[in-house]
Symmetry: C2
Subunit: 482 residues, 2 copies
């Protein structure tokens, strides 16, 4: 291990030693984000924001393919409007910041800052929707929201965060329920295909539902420390919001009806998921599809052939730049070894090294971030080789994460086995459950684990509830979660 | 004029009758935005947001070409931090909303909601910048900001609005000043090339400077009612913010120095500019480069050949869809005439009509939104014809706006001529000015017009100040502005 390497390794706490600290070290050292001088808020730095831009463009493309368009609604919600939907208010009120004055003047009505936008968007839908011909309304919004939470953690739980929230209005329940599940599937495919993160899709239990929803669905992922992460949610809202906000329409049968609605969201927690599913003790590991830089070229510039090496670097950069997201690191003030570590920390999938010897041999040395594998490749066939390799890395990251998920999925048949497996192994522990809220709460109190969701891909096994001994309705994954 | 047409024309107030009402009618009728139930706030609807997405992608691409990356900073600024830069605070304080409580609890320190982010971003730069090696820092942020203004108007002046704000830090004054002008030039080119809006680039007078800046530069456009619009600004901030926020670095000479900074912004006012520069009594006219839909196909579906017409529509849609942003309007519940008016209202640059007769003749009827010109085009050569025509429309809109700008630019040699020209002609009235703030304020009080900027492209003519009679320092355009 060189001096450079030691320095890097020292700066990042090993996962095995303290996963939580490892996470923060990676976020700060890879310059993804930094703590801001506002309680629970972060500043997202260019390297982190570029990942968010990749997430945005991947999701946005998928949304638009299903007919969704983007829009923008105010972040302020007048108190009288905010308080219209009782469950919703109860769920969010403690976390809501209030604007009470402007300059030196007190406002006559307090303004809530949106924790989510069902209410303000619904109030506009009640103006815009008149007839069945105006339906469905399929709108998404990319925005900031605020939830004042006690513990905060970069990307995972911050006072203000960026997300997208989709809000749709439909003519009947079936269409709305179909949309709810369609968007959950969009999330599942996005996580699995773009972020290489396998997820479990299912319905949330009654007690974990969104405030005001009839049904909440989620995709759940498993981090490398064995804790679960709710990676995205999709809600069937029924016509509850429509009734309090008067979102109605004249149907073709001449009768006025209330809309059925959905909402669905993914936040920048997804960046946290990428870090905690793929990262290792050397730092970030980015899936090629989302990596802001897919290939970094590091010229080895020492010695008399410096100019020739730099010329070759520029040739390669130009040749590859039209097809891949490429960067060449020509910095003079850092050694090649330092740069290798730096780009590994930042998670760039492929590194190309070019030195004087490679020039002569007509080759470059190619290094994979995920496996560390290093091999010379003839310069001539490079574009095709890179395309194949990026594809291979993308799939290999997914397979590795999938294998991890499976290795860390266990089964428990009774309360003792559930508690001991959760304590010793972490991960998802599948167990039979009667479906009752009280059993769920009791298990949570005893083990710290919650029912993540009721998976569509049900592991149906007969059995009795691990808590109460009544016949089980579901086999569900219990886990401690972020 | 058909019944359909009359209905549309009735719904939009003619520009000549009441330009202000015409603007609001177009915004509402074309479904760009609507008034929200929060004072001074609007909800931007999908049709309006799609224009904003076009603006974002056009600007973002240009920013990135100059090395800028995006990031995101908190919207809350603790009061103690907010008050650090005196001029800045004085300029923004009356318009700032304060968060004073969360849930039922009072905060120990009030939080301002950003009217702009120099302070919060600067506070992070003071952590991130240590050495000259860390410079320049070139960051942009796309976000919402809030300014509590008295009169509001969709897109032009709203309590909350979306914009981009760039913030850069440099090693010395020259580099920072070069960046200030570079970004102004990016704005000028964006407005002229993408939005087809000619602008006057120049330096703002002392009294119109950004609060805390050493120099403010702007691009100014002329709306069709003869009022000016400040369409974008770029500020050289000097080292004032750096000194109060301690943004310093160790230079290569071993001395610690303060950074020189810039900031620059364009907001969704640019949507207002598009409406008011290109629009007419039939509604929006969108420049092809920014139009969310460039070509709309309207099948004439009456009669026995309906299926053949629809089949041809699908063929055309597919053939053109890979090259242009195309939509086909197959709605059954509206007549062709109604659709023609509807797409004209929405500003789509080119309409293609296909009816039974066109099928037989192997042609489509092509209609330009900007001129109303209508002509048959052989279906075979359509892609090339459309590409040429979109290009021609883009240039023609610019030329028309440029001609309007020139026809509405006047010269005044004394106070009387200035006042009468402003009253009778509106537009830009160039007049000699001593450069003194008092003369500027007096003219503003008398005529309602302000010095828009001191143009780079200076009409240098000798003369004496229209107000005080002293020797003139500049010839500047006076105008009433939005």
């Amino acid at each position: 291990m060189s001096r450079d390497e030691k320095e890097f390794v020292k700066a990042i706490t090993p996962q095995s030693q303290d996963f939580s600290q490892w996470y923060v070290d990676v976020v700060i050292r890879a310059e993804l984000a930094d703590y801001a001088p506002v309680r629970g808020c972060i500043a997202v730095r260019p390297q982190g924001y570029a990942i968010w831009e990749g997430i945005q463009s991947g999701l946005d493309r998928r949304f638009k393919q299903t007919g969704v368009m983007n829009a923008y609604f105010p972040m302020f919600i007048p108190e009288s409007l905010f308080k219209k939907e009782a469950e919703h208010v109860e769920g969010f009120s403690p976390e809501v910041p209030w604007v009470t004055q402007v300059g030196d003047e007190l406002l006559t009505e307090r303004l809530a800052i949106r924790p989510t936008s069902e209410i303000i968007i619904g109030s506009m839908y009640s103006k815009w929707i008149q007839s069945y011909r105006d339906l469905p309304v399929l709108i998404n919004q990319w925005c900031n929201v605020v939830r004042w939470e006690k513990a905060t953690r970069p990307f995972m739980r911050t006072t203000e965060f960026l997300w997208q929230e989709g809000h749709t209005a439909h003519r009947d329940e079936k269409e709305a329920r179909d949309r709810t599940l369609l968007m959950l599937d969009v999330y599942k495919r996005f996580y699995e295909e773009d972020l290489a993160i396998p997820v479990i899709a299912g319905r949330k239990s009654e007690s974990e539902k969104f405030a005001g929803a009839v049904d909440t669905y989620s995709v759940e992922a498993l981090m490398r420390d064995g804790r679960a992460l709710q990676a995205g949610t999709s809600h069937y809202l029924g016509s509850g919001f429509a009734e309090v906000l008067d979102i109605g329409f004249l149907d073709s049968d001449g009768r006025r009806k209330f809309c059925h609605q959905t909402s669905w969201g993914v936040s920048w927690r997804s960046i946290g998921a990428i870090i905690m599913v793929h990262g290792d003790d050397r730092g970030l590991v980015l899936p090629p599809k989302i990596a802001p830089t897919q290939v970094v070229i590091v010229p080895i510039m020492g010695g008399p052939q410096k100019d020739a090496v730099l010329a070759r670097t520029s040739e390669l950069e130009e040749m590859l730049g039209s097809r891949f997201r490429v960067k060449a690191d020509r910095r003079e003030e850092y050694s090649p070894g330092w740069k290798f570590n730096d780009w590994e920390l930042r998670g760039v999938p492929i590194r190309l090294e070019i030195g004087p010897r490679d020039l002569k041999a007509g080759q470059v040395v190619l290094v994979r971030r995920d496996t560390g594998e290093k091999r010379p490749v003839p310069a001539a066939g490079l574009p095709a080789a890179l395309a194949d390799l990026l594809d291979e890395i993308q799939h290999s990251l997914f397979d590795r994460a999938k294998a991890f998920l499976e290795e860390n999925s266990f089964v428990a048949h009774d309360a003792g086995e559930l508690a001991s497996t959760l304590a010793e192994k972490r991960g998802f522990v599948y167990a039979p459950w009667c479906g009752d809220k009280q059993c769920e709460q009791a298990i949570k109190a005893e083990t710290g684990a919650t029912v993540r969701n009721i998976p569509f891909d049900h592991r149906v096994t007969s059995g009795v509830c691990v808590k109460c001994g009544r016949e089980a309705e579901h086999w569900v994954p219990f886990a401690r979660a972020y």
